[in-house]
């Protein structure tokens, strides 16, 4: 079993990066690998509760994020300083994530076999 770590660094909707990262995480889960899914930088906006993208004809991916646990993706992190910079706290988030410090994230990266930033 390998450890695959995904860094989701981009906001939802404006570009397809967030969705592209999620699809990769789901594909990795099918292979039953050890997956770390880390939201950082603009990526933390993906977690904010209450998205209503119907007005921009976009798909709400929150259900897919909430279903990650069913797929065996349990290591979901948000970089604490990225939340703080954006005046966000855990109370704003729709899905349960573990907060991590920059040092903890660096350590997760170093102990991974493959790291994908999208």
């Amino acid at each position: 079993m390998k450890t695959l770590t995904f860094l989701s660094r981009h906001a939802p909707f404006g570009t397809s990066n967030a969705k592209a990262c999620l699809d990769m995480v789901l594909a990795s889960a099918v292979f039953e690998q050890q997956v770390n899914y880390i939201f950082m930088d603009e990526g933390v906006w993906q977690l904010v509760r209450g998205h209503e993208p119907a007005g921009i004809h976009a798909k709400n991916t929150m259900a897919a994020l909430q279903a990650l646990e069913l797929y065996g993706v349990e290591n979901i992190f948000a970089l604490e300083e990225s939340l703080t910079e954006r005046n966000l706290s855990l109370a704003h988030l729709q899905i349960p994530v573990r907060l991590c410090t920059r040092a903890e994230m660096s350590s997760l990266i170093q102990t991974s076999d493959v790291v994908t930033a999208l």
Binding site: F13, N17, A58, K59
Partner: protein, 130 residues
Amino acid sequence: MIISVMVTGSPVSQQSAQTALSFCQAALTAGHQIYRVFFYEDAVQLGSALNVAPQDERNLNAAWSEFVKQYELDAVICVASALKRGILDDGEASRYQKPAANLAEGFDISGLGQWVDACLNSDRVVSFGA
């Protein structure tokens, strides 16, 4: 007012082509006239007739194609951008001896001069995407 719109962003990986469509629809609703829509750079992929959208997502190419046909808009795909990205009408496909054309209905392939002409003949001009 007479308005022209330029779109430059990739229709799949950027939001700009979606924003531009909503803007154009709102402009017509408000009684304005659209002189021309010009697709430049990655936005020329909106002219592909071969794309297939996931069942639970909007097919933006089809939505644009239907919109320009319904209102008989002048929708121009930049020829230089299109050739580089493999968007061809029958004429270009035959000129470059390519096995197929893939331009969707409602769009014309033409030069950058069409955009300059739009700038000269419109009261307002708006660009979408990078």
